[in-house]
Symmetry: D5
Subunit: 146 residues, 10 copies
């Protein structure tokens, strides 16, 4: 079973059971961003959460195995067309050099890891229109000399 | 005076005065991400903060005027090479569809605005290595039908 | 049922019933540009108009569900080949900077929203050859500082 | 004098005189979109308006000549980075096939000319936020058989 | 029936009947370039010639309908590999600016229409090797000001 | 002297003397398409016409030498933005396979040479709007087997 | 039968009969480079060799017909990944301008035809390691003026 | 002195002395393809030939040094526009897989080296038109297993 | 059987037997990098190891034959998305010119062969986090003059 | 002083003093790969080694400062043309998936860091031709779940 077939089965099961990603991730005991990304085939689960997830969604052994496999992370090259995704691309474009300046100033020469990394997505209530709040948290990795 | 010349003069003045972006933005009374992005030519300032900034950095009227002009936002097309900037591009690639799923689930069909938007960059102390914390906050805009 | 299968079923039904987009959108009570774009899979409908549309076109529950799902908007990257679509691309190329200048002059630093947005397509009778009239109407979103 | 030098001189003169594109185009007697696009080097003026424009902006013969020359229309290839311009690109992406469907339905097989074409940009007052209204008007050109 | 299936059926029928494009277009009463391009799915036919063509090639109603539909013109993006097609691309590359200069000189600021347009391909007998003669004929469209 | 400097000197001289490409090519005794393309640096002249051209335009020995040098033909890669040039690109896109079919039918397997090649641009008077007539004439080159 | 299906049948037959391209081309009476390229769908055969080839490989009428059809030559765009093919691409990159200089010097302004062209591939025995010898032979085509 | 400046000085000296690449390479004692490529900055010379070349062309020490430096080989990416160079690119496109098949058949799994490599360009007299003969000679390098 | 089908069968067999690449390559008697790359279709095996491998994995004759065939090496063009592979791409980007400088300094003008080449991947135990050690070993090939 | 100017001054000083990168890095007390990459502007030095390096090369304070600044790492996008650099790109292309398989097998799901990373380049004497040995050593970073 490929990761793509795995994702299709998960999406179908999720709709039939009427569960949200939020609810599923609470039952499995993982963050909703991480859990969703694993279901979409961009991260792997370890044994225990894979088992729990399949129990929650009433899916078989093959989905469990596919969840555990290490993914080849892949995405739409160059520039995404969907407006939701594109706006984040635009944010990185506009603020990329600013981020580099401020990380350099606060931490020294190095990067924010995209591997030792987590992300949360929250809703901020606001009478002028609710707001999306994204928090990224990644380990700082300094360049080493040798 | 173009935005590029403006940025060069600001960088030189900043180095000579030994000020950080953090310190400058506090004196001007704006967030450091926003202030830095305006100095790098990716956002415009209104009259008052432009004046204050030039006073802090001992720069002339032409820099003040250039800060106020509306920028043509531009950035490295396709894929950035610098590892600091690239890691954020990778994050959007890996988590783009996850973000879309979860915004859809929490808010309905629509996007996070990249215009009515703010960003903060913080340092989280950690004995296993300090962590970079990025918070993005953007208004949710629902698609309208007509 | 994917959005692509949904579009195929709608196109077949529309031809068999001999209805135009104009007629369908009147029966459903939505603008023809918006209704057509939803049928082509680029916008989602809410429950009521999805139901009405399926009744008009004598289509089943699965089409109704597919119309309600949030689309991943996608289109021909880089430059379209079809002359109808390309001419609009050319218009944005030739007049893009002009539009930016005049929006800046009339509204301040900001953009026209492509989300809080509507569009109409009309026919202007003219003895020297009829004319296509496209009207776009989008909310102005000012850049905010923080 | 190249079109680029011409544009630079016009922008400088415009700022010094404190005139808007709107005001300049009224004095010259042309639409503001057309006049601005000619000043940005994307359209040519005929002799009379070129003369008038140079008188309004107190510019010399060489600018007048440059305004009359036929431009090589050129623009940022692939995808523009500035959010103002990008949103229009996104609109064409999302609604391109819809436009094609509806022009076909209302006019037959053919295109909207981008040459025998005009455009207006207006401001619609709205308590929930002002709106940008763009009107495009182009001759319908039917494909001919032979 | 898609345009692609339509083209396949036409090519098969043409081979079986041993007819050339030249012969088919004479029987239908249209130019061979136009007729061939419609059979390859790049132009639409009106009702009468579509009927005649299907009679000549002994094809059914569905082919007739597909011939009448408005095509989404599409072609190999960037640079074609086949030497026959590439040589024309090279010709436009080498002589493009020359064509622009001479159309400007003879007609004023404007373009040759690719819509109100016809093309012929002829064979010129020559003892040193026969020659291909392509004639393009398109309406001149002047840019309008407003 | 590079080909680019040569072209600049020729354009300046041509404007000062108020001559059209048509008039210059008649005085030199060459076709206007060929002569213009050589002046724009895309073809080389032999000694005699180079001399004549410099006499007509009152230009020096260095221009004469530059005209004789073999050019490195170069042009805007991918897709041209100017509408005049783009329309020809569109024509090749729409009719490329048709041209291949008809050359194959009339001549056999082979190509139209873009080297042993000439082109003419004419104006056809027409009350419904004048027409641009382009004639291309190239030697047929059959593929050889060995 | 498409050219692709034709190539597949030929490859299978060749393996089953244990014949090399060298042996097949000798039996057919054509050069091995040309014969192989025709079998891979990049050149067409005339009637006689197509018949002979099918007899040698015990293949049917449909393969014979497919061999005779004029191919749409197509290849991996931009840069090939396979090292064997890439090295030739590199050779053209490194020596392209050198070839242009020396052809210009020896023949005048013009090109080597890729149509009236043949190629041979030989093995040169060498104790320090055998060597590949490629010989290309193409007609010189001078640019003509008109 | 950069390689580019070196090439410019060599080209100027070569024209003033009226020498061909053929003549220069004979005086220096190297093949004309190799010598020309080194003068164009795509290969390096060892000390002796660099000295001789500068003597022949009456050039100074700095040119000699620049000839000895190891070049960063660079060329027009993607697809060259000049017809002379393009035709070789087309040849590799059309015959690339054929070359791979025949090298595999004659030598085993491996490549022709583009480093341990030489090339010659000759003129073959022919009453039907002279022919360009290119001979490439490269060491076969077998893939090794380990 | 294509190389892709071969790889699929090998992966399935490997999972069922619960063998690692390390274990398989020891049984076959080849390096694990080389063996894995051959199983993934990027290198060919000679007869003996192909036979052994199929015995170890209990696979048939057709897999054995497919392993022996010379591969057309192919990979994700431009920039890989998976972070594991991308990091190596980044390493070549950052250190490419450094590698060129140091190879030039230590060996002279020439390259490291990617054909007469081997690679090993090892694990270095480290209390601060284990480390990946990659060793590449390729023959130096000097450029030759002629 | 930009990094580019810094590199130019270092290269000139290095040539005048006749020092190799190897010798310079020994005097400064850093690895030659790291030191060279910092001199080419792809890594930053801390204060002490920057001082030492400028002393060794007899360069001023501005070079010292430029060495300390954090670089914006940048390189030739898409595919490098120089054969030395390209061969490494080819190695990553051919062995990328193999590396991913074996790192996954030996370490689990994660990547080799390109930041906590070092590289060495050595010469292995060999009678059949010396060999280039590249050793890369990077920390393994496991993906974390949250």
């Amino acid at each position: 079973m490929t990761k793509i077939e795995m994702t299709e089965q998960i999406i179908v099961a999720k709709k039939e059971l009427g569960l949200s990603w939020e609810e599923i991730s609470k039952k499995v005991g993982l963050g909703s961003v991480f859990l969703t990304s694993a279901c979409l085939g961009q991260n792997s689960l370890t044994k225990e959460p894979a088992k729990k997830l399949c129990k929650v969604l009433k899916l078989g052994k093959d989905v469990e195995k596919a969840l555990i496999e290490f993914p080849y992370k892949t995405w739409e090259k160059s520039i995404p067309t969907d407006p939701v995704v594109y706006r984040f691309y635009e944010v990185i474009g506009v603020y990329g050099d600013t981020i580099k300046e401020l990380i350099g100033e606060k931490f020294g020469d190095g990067i924010m890891s995209a591997i030792d990394f987590s992300m949360d997505i929250d809703k901020e209530k606001n009478p002028a229109g609710d707001r999306v709040v994204i928090t990224m948290n990644g380990k700082f990795l300094p360049y080493k000399s040798w």
